[in-house]
């Protein structure tokens, strides 16, 4: 593939998702677009690109974008955030609000392991929070992964990464060669297709937002815009969980890093976007 085509495709992906395809990542284009080219009846990726250049095809552009997302995830990924949720965030939240609804959002939920891990954790902890009810929303730009997440079906390989076998026995049914989360866990999570480039404030207010391992794909202005929009959807001191390689530092002053709990940020009390501008 020539440099022009790479740039052209990278722009298609960036314009829709905000994902920056660096030069090193360009090699992924070939391996991921080859199956699309084949499926759509093109002889090569070059053919696909020249056709696309000749005639705008939004559906194709989205297929390409979807193919360039990285959906790697697993149950209880990195473990610490889930320990932090259990040991710090939930008790603190309870001290603040002893009754009512706690809304949690996984902003790039991929195939669902993250929100379902939270749902299993909440199930274990529920007796400590009798007054609170929890509602989990998972969104992702890729319809493909959202559909898989909704199904709650995982391969033998997937259920063996990060999930203790006791949880497998407790929360899953075996369905042929796959494992399916039981209805009581599945019903705790609502999945929707959702693009972080769009105005997602209509999802409502959230006490806790997990936005892990997705900002890494964006440039600085995009990260800042998303974080500040999230801040407008949270109460003062609401909790933001980022991935191990992600930070708010240098991007926005809407969040404070929490002193004792690494990777958890709290929404700055009284912050408004106007003030930041």
């Amino acid at each position: 593939m020539n440099k022009d085509d790479i740039e052209y495709l990278a722009k298609i992906v960036y314009d829709r998702s905000g994902i920056v395809l660096t030069q090193e990542k360009a090699y992924l284009l070939e391996s991921r677009l080859a199956p699309i080219a084949r499926k759509e009846g093109f002889n090569s990726i070059d053919d696909l690109v020249s056709t696309l250049r000749g005639r705008a095809d939004e559906k194709m552009a989205w297929q390409i974008t979807d193919a360039m997302t990285t959906n790697e995830t697993f149950f209880f990924r990195d473990k610490t955030p889930f320990d932090n949720l259990k040991n710090h965030v939930l008790p603190e939240l309870k001290a603040r609000k002893s009754a009512g609804k706690v809304r949690i959002w996984c902003a790039a939920s991929s195939t669902g392991q993250e929100p379902y891990s939270i749902a299993m954790l909440l199930n274990e902890e529920a007796s400590k929070y009798p007054g609170l009810s929890f509602e989990i929303t998972g969104t992702d730009i890729s319809n493909r992964v959202v559909e898989k997440a909704k199904s709650g079906l995982y391969s033998q390989f997937e259920v063996q990464r990060g999930l203790p076998v006791t949880s497998l026995v407790k929360y899953f049914d075996k369905v042929d060669d796959m494992w399916q989360l039981k209805p009581n866990i599945r019903s705790q999570v609502t999945f929707k297709q959702g693009n972080l480039q769009d105005d997602f404030t209509s999802l409502g207010k959230f006490d806790i937002i997990f936005c892990r391992n997705v900002l890494i794909y964006f440039d600085q202005p995009t990260k800042a815009k998303i974080l500040e929009r999230m801040a407008t959807m949270m109460p003062d001191n609401g909790y933001l969980f980022l991935g191990a390689a992600e930070t708010v530092m240098g991007l926005t002053d809407a969040f404070n890093s929490s002193r004792e709990v690494r990777g958890v940020y709290t929404r700055q009390a009284g912050w408004t976007r106007a003030k930041a501008a």
Binding site: F74, F157, P164, V165, T166
Partner: protein, 121 residues
Amino acid sequence: MRSCLVVDDSRVIRKVARRILEDLEFKIEEAADGMEALTACRGQMPDMVLLDWNMPVMNGLDFLKALRQEPGGDKPVVIFCTTENDLDHITQALENGANEYIMKPFDGDIIEAKLAEVGLV
């Protein structure tokens, strides 16, 4: 260095497991069936046992039951590693004192993930 007894009647599987576990800094002993494994444990209790289910002479479950009766036999962390992949087998293993359970085929990622579950890495 932590020790691991790899119990499997397949030499190939033992070799694969050995390579993965040695990379994770375990000292490896091998046994080809439950009886050999029990003898090895009576000599010296390992920190961990990676245990196949179906083997000649003594199968994995019978070995596990016997091990847990031995003096000091409650110590080793036992991780099943077997093609048996239905809930009945898993439940039986847990009820008889297994700490974790790997369904074959496995790879380094799965072994490492399971060792993390039991606090060995």
